[in-house]
Symmetry: C2
Subunit: 219 residues, 2 copies
Amino acid sequence: MFKKKNVSLAVVRRLPRYLRYVEDLLNHDIMRISSSELSQRMGYTASQVRQDFNNFGGFGQRGYGYSTQVLYENLVKILGLDKNFKMIIVGVGNLGQALANYANFYKKGFKLVGLFDIDPQKVGKSIRNIKIQHVDELKDFIKKNDVDIGVLCVPSEVAQEVANLMVEGGIKGIWNFTAKEIEVKDDVVVENVHLIDSLMVLSYKLNEKLIEKQEASQK
Amino acid sequence: MFKKKNVSLAVVRRLPRYLRYVEDLLNHDIMRISSSELSQRMGYTASQVRQDFNNFGGFGQRGYGYSTQVLYENLVKILGLDKNFKMIIVGVGNLGQALANYANFYKKGFKLVGLFDIDPQKVGKSIRNIKIQHVDELKDFIKKNDVDIGVLCVPSEVAQEVANLMVEGGIKGIWNFTAKEIEVKDDVVVENVHLIDSLMVLSYKLNEKLIEKQEASQK
């Protein structure tokens, strides 16, 4: 697979959405789609779609469009979903439990292999047949099982401390749900989820509508 | 406050991050910052920062930079955080509970006023002094209390149905945590949270590192 170096993060962030649409097409037995059709469905321009895919060598044929199956297989590979990355969740509160029960991880090829907490009430119990272990076991577990991704669902106050344990164990990536911006060495990838950011974008749009209404009523 | 029409969504999505950094500066008693300093901290270019703020009339003074207090107050207003939008959560599973307990909503000025579920085990119980009501009460509650935002945490299969109830009640915005892309009339704002997208971006980056390593070892 041809792949340009340094694909921009904006393009990468659009790939999961492409995958979702292409899956939906496959589920509806639509085996072929033009870039203009795909772009219309997604609210992009056709040239944006073509440019995005050209970062990875394009997958279309002139006059034919895209085979949805080929698109799907390429997106899966590009996103690394065929690698079956191994994942652990640290912090099994409501959010950690919600994530542990999130069936989509399995469907997408991520493999949840461990759960960790410090609460004696939780340690020893199981979710989806995975026993919750004490955080004291975290470092060794990551080493022994060659875990790829650590999901950080602990209180912000201990986020950096737990991230350090993960890194010492040899974790490759951290999916950070805490409000804290954690610091790790360069070769560990961090992806932050700031739920409140998305709520603020909603708030921005609601506020915009309010202002429009006020302006309209003043005319 | 001067405001250009149709600020691009890419700019809007950066605003919460600006707010986070500016809050951090205020917490450290840093009352003034140049665009180049701010951009360095955030990993943007100085011209990007200036352009972003110029969408809202800029807030800087030549030769002085930005007053962090002025920046903060403007960002709060632009994001509508001074409106104290009223919010309900529908679906009080693990994710709904995690969100109900998420203290940041309160800090940011969102007001959680109601919780809804259909599970008889849950209806009548309380979280943070808010009683969980049956979904049968949803429409009336939204109307009576003029609720702004509905948080959709129900199973995907009933997402559209519950969204319809919200819209019939007069909801203005839906924060959608389900995997389903819901359809609503034009004047209702929808913001989708696809957690798996962010995990896929992490997976992309891990895969990229794997490929780099393989290429390096083949040389």
